[in-house]
């Protein structure tokens, strides 16, 4: 027999969410409303100028550069992260949970500190260059390059690729793989026909967890790129804190949000499980 919620106590208990509802109204909805207002006005008058301004090659260029770097970062994370997750989740690996924790720990360290540490490794007089000089290769310019930014992105977001894939693989039903073997599939076939398709939801959420923050970051390019590579996040920050053009900054913020919501929708459609909590 199904038991339906009573109308009496149910209604009253849902009021427990009222303070939170009010809070979100003030601190989530109102700010978004303000941003929307600024994005569609200049000096209080409605206009689409802010969005038109974005169409200038300079700004579109920044967006494509951000997307391109984020894309590269995602691909690299996937290429290195997938095997890591696969190995971590393998059944014959003892203490696999312990191993997994080893991969989380760095993530919990303040990312500014970690990025700063890379700066000290990559700088002209850093450990790596000193090593290169020592073995006779000579000093290379590592910092303040596009590759340094990419490197920093990969470093910061790699765990976000490993984890979702790992947890999906870990959860998957061992019997499925055994069934495939039973039906005559060899190691590779089991991987291609069973393990890989089963892990796709993990890949999808891994990709979104890497790509989104990679597009929007402004600290990593600022630190490792030395400010010479403007990414989309920098642009927004500039509008609000340097230029003071809130209208354009708001339009850029909305564009970024739209971008993310669209790609999320796209990814969720690609996700065969369509899980609600797939994001994390």
């Amino acid at each position: 027999m199904s038991v339906r919620r009573g109308n009496g106590p149910g209604l009253r208990r849902s009021m427990f969410a009222a303070p939170y509802g009010l809070w979100m109204l003030i601190f989530t909805m109102a700010p978004i409303f303000i941003i929307v207002f600024y994005a569609f006005t200049i000096g209080g008058k409605p206009t689409l100028e802010n969005f038109k301004l974005f169409l200038e090659p300079e700004f579109v260029g920044i967006l494509t550069f951000s997307l391109w770097l984020a894309f590269l970062c995602t691909v690299i994370c996937l290429v290195f992260g997938y095997p890591t997750a696969l190995f971590l989740a393998s059944r014959d690996l003892k203490r696999s949970a312990m191993m997994a924790v080893l991969f989380v720990i760095p993530m919990w360290m303040n990312f500014l500190l970690r990025t700063y540490a890379w700066m000290s490794l990559l700088e002209d007089t850093g450990l790596i260059n000193r090593f290169l000089t020592f073995i006779g290769v000579g000093r290379k310019k590592l910092m303040y390059t596009e590759n340094a930014v990419l490197f920093g992105l990969v470093y910061n977001f790699l765990p976000f690729m490993i984890f979702p894939i790992y947890s999906v693989l870990k959860r998957s039903d061992l019997h499925l793989e055994e069934a495939a073997q039973d039906l005559g599939a060899n190691g590779w076939q089991v991987f291609l026909k069973v393990t890989l398709p089963l892990s796709l939801p993990g890949v999808v959420s891994g990709v979104s967890m890497v790509f989104m923050p990679a597009v929007t970051t402004f600290v990593i390019p600022r630190l490792l790129g030395g400010g010479s590579f403007m990414m989309f996040g920098d642009l927004i920050e500039n509008q609000f804190l340097t230029t003071g053009d809130w209208n354009f900054g708001s339009a850029l913020s909305l564009i970024m949000m739209a971008l993310i919501l669209i790609s999320l929708g796209f990814l969720n459609n690609a996700n065969p499980e369509g899980e609600e909590g797939a994001l994390w």
Binding site: T28, P31, W108, S120, Y155, V215, M256, G277
Partner: protein, 262 residues
């Protein structure tokens, strides 16, 4: 067998990549020399100086106190919200879930600038208070998302059983529902706490007069970074490590009790 070796080598390489900067920071924290270019021998000098550095100590106080206060507020707000959302009809629930998801999907920078816009619009001076408000805002969804699954997993008759045995609704809440969801509350609180500790972007936009550690470090990396920061990183690393071990022990325990029930 060869495959297995290769696997280990691969995992080890990834770990080296992830840990290299942390090891470097910790190593430098014991370097007596002022510059990174020279190794001046082992010393605890920077640890001593760290505690004398008023700027860093102030930022540390801001970071920890904001994280603690925000976590407490978020835990209360989020737990109540989760209980409320759980007992809602599906339409209302969908609205709340979407609003809760929103800050988690919004890029930090957009959350940051939009909250900044709100505070400026409301003529609130951006400082400790506004940073705290912002932290509560982005912490609360973590609590909700940790508590809700516990509520869903809970036998829906437990609450009724308590009423049946004579408990008033508020006593049933305290004696039956809270003990049931407390693991979720703790997980959510720990998650919120670490998010607060780690936050840079949102704090950066919502506070100008008060800096937390992340904001301070950011401003330092743009000028000259004093070696005391290395000592600070080492301390933070050890702190985070112990926090994480704590959480992991909890999870392991609750996993075990789950197994027993099955």
């Amino acid at each position: 067998m060869v495959m297995k070796r290769l696997r280990w080598v691969y995992i080890a390489l990834v770990l080296v990549f992830l840990y290299a900067p942390i090891v470097v920071l910790i190593a430098y924290s014991f370097n007596a020399s002022e510059t990174r270019a020279v190794w001046g021998g082992l010393s605890l000098r920077w640890y001593a100086e760290l505690f004398r550095d008023k700027g860093i100590m102030d930022a540390l106080y801001v970071t920890v106190s904001v994280a603690l206060l925000a976590t407490m507020a978020a835990t209360v707000l989020g737990t109540l919200a989760a209980i409320g959302i759980h007992s809602m009809r599906s339409g209302m629930r969908a609205v709340f879930m979407n609003v809760t998801n929103l800050p988690m999907l919004t890029p930090d920078i957009v959350t940051g600038v939009s909250l900044m816009a709100l505070f400026i619009f409301a003529k609130l001076p951006r400082g400790y208070g506004t940073m705290l408000l912002a932290h509560i805002t982005f912490d609360t969804p973590y609590v909700i998302f940790s508590v809700l699954p516990r509520l869903k997993r809970m036998n829906k008759h437990l609450y009724e059983a308590a009423l049946d045995l004579g408990a008033t609704p508020s006593r049933a809440l305290v004696r039956v529902i809270l003990p049931e969801i407390s693991p979720g509350m703790v997980t959510g609180a720990l998650l919120a706490f670490t998010m607060s500790l780690d936050d840079f972007v949102i704090s950066y936009f919502t506070s100008v007069r008060t800096a937390n550690l992340s904001v301070l470090i950011y401003s330092m990396t743009r000028r000259k970074v004093p070696p005391t920061i290395n000592a600070l990183s080492a301390i933070m690393f050890v702190t985070v490590l112990s926090l994480l071990l704590l959480v992991n022990r909890r999870d392991a325990r609750s996993d075990k009790s789950k197994l027993k029930g099955a």
